[in-house]
Symmetry: C2
Subunit: 304 residues, 2 copies
């Protein structure tokens, strides 16, 4: 689904936020982990099934509040093949519930290899003439370090299959500046990447006026976000770093355009671990997640 | 296994090369594909099983010639869950045959997420106190765009578990210069990344005098390799781009130190598709791969 469909879901839910599904095992309520360990042992399978039960509970509680979910591939690869299987199950389930699925994989490689990654997640796999889907999602994150020929296969599949993508521009982590902020003459690296995002995105414009080639811009760097918003007026921003990483609603405001669109703000730990704050019982993890997602929605709407 | 163990295997085989296992389905001999399709159909499973049979034949023919193999994750993710399963099977089989396994995943993320990736591939996964291996390999490739805190978890696991890693510095693809060659004052981005590689690597020095934190430096940019060799004297270089991508033996010479060590040169298509050149029959794909691997070994030794 292209950026237009993401925007439609954001408007329907009146909520420019995405729930990150980054299920470290310590996030999963203890009773749920113990149940899975009783059945499968403290194994990759046991951990993965606990994650699945947690994810399913979260999706059931969130699908009418948030427009999108963002599974973080690392926390499924972490549990080996059983983890990968649960990632696929989670994606399918989220799509069945009408959610827009952004798979956070940050893939990057030379052209022919980037094409394989793109076919796996956005496009189709050609098996001697049969067109097959491997792990179909609506959107992926990519890393720009290899330049245009590592990005174009994704752009092409966004066009062909009506998908979207988010290129890392300015990430939310403390050391993001080490490379991204380096000064070239009078511009920073992240501004140079922003220029490329505009160039790549020009071929993928939606009816909404936004491009299906978006950008990752961390909530933890609001001043840089302001600059980047101007440099990439038509790129949708995926904004990590809100909540647990320290970014607040005022900080993310700079990532939005005056039309109240242009950004979707991610919260992972804040929503998944909401039950660990306040007086929630573990069994109410989903209810707590829903309450936090609604609180976040209201907070975001209050600043827009 | 640390860089010392890689060097030991290189010395034993007298061969500083690594066979890339990037099995696009079109690389697999037609009779082998057809056999898999008869059993499993033109499905992800059919493609993955054809890839497995191909990989097994290649490993059987190469394990006493090359010290290492480098599976490219994209070409397994391409075939969904059956592809992932074949990746794991390939890794296990290569390790049983005594090969050093470098998994080409180019992972990158913020600190806590990088830790999950590193645990999955280099370290161990903690499942409520049980230490489990998810997808254990000897080495991975990583992307530096997020800076130090996305890299340190891998460095830590290299130290703890005696593994190695290769950070993208100057990649082999045509557009690698778009970001990597940008000029900051009097240095290029790739030189800046080289400085970081040295810093990260200082804590991971082996008895060989080389660090377990290595660098990816493309064979297609020999002049840049010469500069980078001086800037990172103790980093092992993983050198893609030899053969099919255009780099020749003279081009890769610059990636080696005067001790004849310091680099391992990758060939993927050149070895895997050797049977498509000359008078080989498809059934002799493994023999052709072996002949090409031996030719490459001799060529590399002739320039060192």
């Amino acid at each position: 689904m292209s950026v237009d469909q993401l925007i439609q879901k954001i408007k329907e839910k009146q909520n420019p936020s995405v729930a990150g599904l980054d299920p470290q095992i310590s996030y999963v309520p203890a009773y749920m982990r113990e149940r899975a360990y009783r059945e499968y042992g403290k194994t990759l399978k046991g951990a993965a099934e606990a994650v699945w039960e947690f994810n399913k509970g979260l999706i059931d509680a969130l699908y009418d509040v948030v427009p999108a979910v963002k599974p973080q591939s690392a926390f499924y690869e972490l549990y080996g093949l059983p983890g990968e299987e649960v990632l696929h199950r989670t994606i399918r389930y989220a799509k069945e519930k009408g959610l827009y699925v952004i798979l956070d994989v940050k893939r990057n490689d030379i052209g022919s290899t980037a094409q394989a990654y793109s076919a796996a997640y956005l496009g189709k796999v050609d098996i001697d003439g049969e067109q097959v889907e491997a792990c179909p999602v609506d959107s992926v994150t990519v890393n720009p370090y290899l330049g245009t020929d590592g990005i174009l296969p994704f752009v092409q599949d966004c066009k062909t299959y009506g998908k979207s993508m988010f290129t890392l521009v300015k990430t939310s982590n403390p050391s993001s500046g080490e490379l991204q902020d380096l000064l070239l003459g009078d511009a920073r690296i992240y501004e140079k990447v922003a220029e490329l995002v505009c160039k790549w995105g020009a071929e993928c414009m939606g009816e909404s006026g936004y491009s299906s080639v978006g950008a990752v811009v961390g909530a933890t760097y609001p001043e840089q976000a302001k600059t980047l918003r101007k440099l990439m007026p038509k790129a949708y921003f995926l904004v990590p770093g809100y909540g647990a990483q320290g970014g607040n609603a005022q900080d993310v405001k700079n990532s939005f355009n005056d039309d109240g669109l242009g950004a979707i703000v991610n919260s992972s730990r804040g929503i998944m671990c909401a039950y660990k704050k306040g007086d929630w019982k573990e069994e109410a993890f989903a209810e707590a997640a829903r309450a936090e997602a609604i609180r976040m929605k209201e907070e975001l709407n209050s600043i827009l």
